[in-house]
Symmetry: C2
Subunit: 185 residues, 2 copies
Amino acid sequence: MEQPAPPLAVIAAALRRERNLAGISLAELARRAGLAKSTLSQLEAGAGNPSIETLWALGVALGVPFSRLVEPEPAKVRVIRAGEGATRLRADRADFVATLLATGSPHVRRDLYLMELAPGEAREAEPHIPGSVEHIVVGSGRIRTGPVEEPVEVGPGDYVTFPGDVPHRYEALEPSWAVLVMEHR
Amino acid sequence: MEQPAPPLAVIAAALRRERNLAGISLAELARRAGLAKSTLSQLEAGAGNPSIETLWALGVALGVPFSRLVEPEPAKVRVIRAGEGATRLRADRADFVATLLATGSPHVRRDLYLMELAPGEAREAEPHIPGSVEHIVVGSGRIRTGPVEEPVEVGPGDYVTFPGDVPHRYEALEPSWAVLVMEHR
DNA sequence: CTGAATCGTTCGTCAAACCGAACAACCAGA
DNA sequence: TCTGGTTGTTCGGTTTGACGAACGATTCAG
């Protein structure tokens, strides 16, 4: 579940796509990126294994983030009504319910949760994989959350972010729900 | 505001960082990635301009998404109280306020907004850069949003996602606020 | 029908990325 | 103190990516 795509063809396709979308010619792009036309031609043909600097120059010239050139395609439209969660992630404790709303494209791990908490004992969360970051926006209620050694109390509309790779907690002081963006790196 | 970082040094640092974090030796990583130790050594030394296939193999061997090897560092802790927005993005129309909560690291395009809307005329939004996706979770109130040709009405706790690269709109039916995750790819 | 612009392709040359081996430094155990 | 096993480094040789020029194909101006 990591990088399933063989990069050569993907890059070739991405280059053509982005260039056509920018509405410039191969020669023009090569000029802007400071490359030889031949190089770019072969790249778009799928032949070739460009160096980082080369591909980087193309990204800059195209005005797109680098990773855009090594990733495939996007998504569509979807609605999930309150309480309709598809994948409900229920903790061992019944006063905590998180609903998975959206997952990022394979290589961009960004999971969006709708989290419902009932007041009661604090829920301790195991550290996630190193580099994780959590973002929380409270919808309603009051929540004490954050790293165990540095909890914060937040209310409706408040936003808090903290590392997810250390022990942290969620404690509802009253019936609450919040939006949780989990950044997995 | 695109790719400010010269990739060579960044990649070198990223490689060391991820390898140490994985707790494996240079030789071992080289073996798993099917590379020569010398190649990897020079890469981590900052000398060298790896080919895509080379860097890709390293990403796979390390078990990290590719883009992770061409990006810098993460964040820490932060709280923004309701109404305290640092960067407030006020539209030409006064009934729409969006507060930027968090930006991803430079190349991880994931912007988190807190959006406040007053009822009134619908706000038409220009299409963003191709591939954008918007995720919205309503905090309170009622909002009609989505692509102009396919709007949806959502309430507290509801979630909706739609492409951001087509004309779309936000219309508050009553005083509302929502969490908006803007995916830029 | 030319001449001069583009467009994108193919070819030969050179620099450099990658390889393999040999290297010093370190550690564990006999 | 010798081994045998690591660690990561530096050194020639070969493969190959990037360059520049020359190419046929278009399109437009004259």
